[in-house]
């Protein structure tokens, strides 16, 4: 019996830990939100964050999107051939990229690239007392570090998702036209005709949610770091893991809201 109670206790501890984390994250998010609307504001920090989160993520987003779109076109073509549905490649690539693969791929790329860098940067600032220094210089760390990064995630990741969607469809188009024998005009017409406003809106909403999740978690784990270099590494790892899981969880929830019958 003792192993059963130990097992149940372990499950209970994990569940309690999970709930506590959600509670702390919620409070952290609400505190961030409260600072968004209260001065002082740091426009220079916001501009830098917009470049770091958005502009400098464009290459990795573009490359992953083009390959994903191309691979998706090949998969749908070969899979569709089993029931004579090769002709639906443009439509399925469009819907697959815009509704799911575009936002999820961009979200995960942002988690890998931006969450990790934010967590490592803020964690290093924490262990080298730079966060304490900010406070002694009358600068609130949430306002100066967290708010600009989270706003940058909210603003730029939907744009990155839109760019990723376009490039992903373009990847499918190139493969479709060059390798699968589709006519360029027909491919584009089928793609454009099939896309609905709701597909695009859901994609952008996902981008905004993923941008907030990725940046907020980077800041949260960075701010909570302790114990030197090991703490920085741990904060970075936890931030990326949590961001990836929450992005996929949020993706399911948003998809359910938009497309559940």
């Amino acid at each position: 019996m003792s192993w059963i109670s130990a097992f149940l206790a372990a499950i209970g501890r994990t569940a309690m830990g999970g709930f506590a984390l959600i509670g702390r994250l919620t409070l952290f998010g609400l505190e961030t939100l409260s600072h968004v609307f209260r001065p002082p504001f740091y426009p220079r920090e916001l501009l830098l964050a917009l470049f770091n989160v958005g502009y400098f993520s464009l290459p990795v987003v573009g490359l992953t999107a083009v390959f994903t779109g191309g691979a998706l076109a090949l998969q749908i073509y070969s899979g569709g051939a089993r029931f004579n549905a090769e002709a639906v490649v443009p439509q399925i690539v469009a819907i697959g990229v815009i509704r799911e693969l575009g936002p999820v791929m961009v979200g995960l790329m942002i988690a890998a690239r931006v969450t990790s860098s934010i967590a490592a940067e803020i964690a290093t600032m924490k262990v080298t007392e730079q966060i304490d220094a900010l406070v002694t210089l009358s600068t609130h760390p949430m306002k100066y570090l967290t708010v600009p990064r989270v706003l940058a995630g909210l603003i730029t990741v939907p744009v990155l998702v839109a760019v990723g969607d376009i490039i992903g469809i373009l990847g499918g188009y190139v493969v479709g036209v060059q390798s699968l024998g589709f006519s360029p005009g027909a491919y584009l017409k089928n793609t454009v005709d099939f896309i609905e406003t709701l597909d695009v809106v859901s994609s952008l909403v996902k981008g905004a949610a993923f941008g907030v999740i990725a940046t907020l978690l980077g800041c949260y784990y960075g701010m909570r770091t302790r114990r030197g270099a090991q703490g920085v590494g741990r904060a970075t790892k936890l931030a990326v893991e949590a961001a990836a899981v929450l992005i996929l969880g949020a993706n399911f929830i948003i998809t359910s809201i938009f497309f559940s019958a």
Partner: protein, 248 residues
């Protein structure tokens, strides 16, 4: 005047401060000494509000430091951190002028830069150092930049956390002299944490020794050698034998 009355602080089961009571008169230089892990930095961070005490009262000029306008309170302080705590994403001059580039003390950029260069000159650095990044400076130069940042907004109170740690004896002497000169010419209240007895003698008007979470001894630096306190004697002479347990 800064006063700590019966300040307690524990981290889990580790009771770091167990009733610290200390007065730092205005425009004097207080140095707090004590072994590693005795809570010197925690006491300092409690005053600044970076760490919240579990109980006790800390006042500045008779007012509870946890009440009132926090920005106005912090604007009265400057602090030199042990590792410098310079912002590595900003060039040296922007580190020094950080407070002057934002918030209630904001000045035009050109004026802030001029003040930063003047403060850098005051701590023995040249204008050409202003555009370097902290990572491009030696440890001693980083301490000087930290010192320049601490004094940039001409604060009434300056805290120095281990100002000479990691520096060679000559550079440590230079930093000690700079601290003494700056504190005297600004008429500031200073509180320094250090293990370095050379620093104590160079910087202090008054000394307080923190041991076992309480102030073991406090008095003017001139009376330190003849205090007769066995804890203080052991510490200032660096003896392994005595009432302070030394881990071998």
């Amino acid at each position: 005047m800064i006063e700590l009355q019966h300040v307690h602080k524990a981290f889990g089961s580790n009771r770091v401060l167990r009733g610290v009571t200390l007065t730092i008169p205005k425009a004097t230089s207080m140095v707090i000494i004590g072994g590693s892990g005795t809570g010197k930095s925690v006491a300092l961070k409690c005053i600044l509000g970076l760490v919240r005490p579990d109980s006790g009262l800390i006042t500045l000029d008779g007012k509870d430091v946890t009440k009132g306008d926090r920005d106005a309170f912090l604007a009265r302080f400057g602090m030199l951190f042990q590792g410098g705590a310079l912002f590595d994403s900003l060039p040296v001059w922007q580190n020094v002028a950080f407070r002057l580039l934002r918030g209630s003390l904001k000045r035009p950029k050109g004026e802030a830069r001029e003040i930063a260069i003047e403060k850098l000159r005051r701590v023995g650095l040249k204008p050409e150092h202003a555009d370097l990044f902290p990572a491009e400076l030696s440890g001693g130069m980083q301490k000087r930049v930290g010192l320049a940042r601490a004094i940039a907004a001409e604060p009434e109170i300056i805290f120095f956390d281990e100002p000479t740690t990691g520096l060679d004896p000559i550079m440590a002497g230079v930093i000690n002299d700079l601290i003494r000169e700056i504190v005297t010419e600004m008429g500031a209240t200073a509180m320094t944490i250090t293990h370095d007895m050379t620093s104590v003698r160079a910087i202090a008007d008054n000394v307080a020794m923190l041991h076992d979470g309480v102030i073991q001894w406090t008095g003017p630096v001139a009376e330190m050698d003849a205090s007769g306190d066995p804890y203080l004697d052991q510490f200032i002479h660096g003896r392994a034998e005595g009432p302070i347990e030394a881990v071998r």
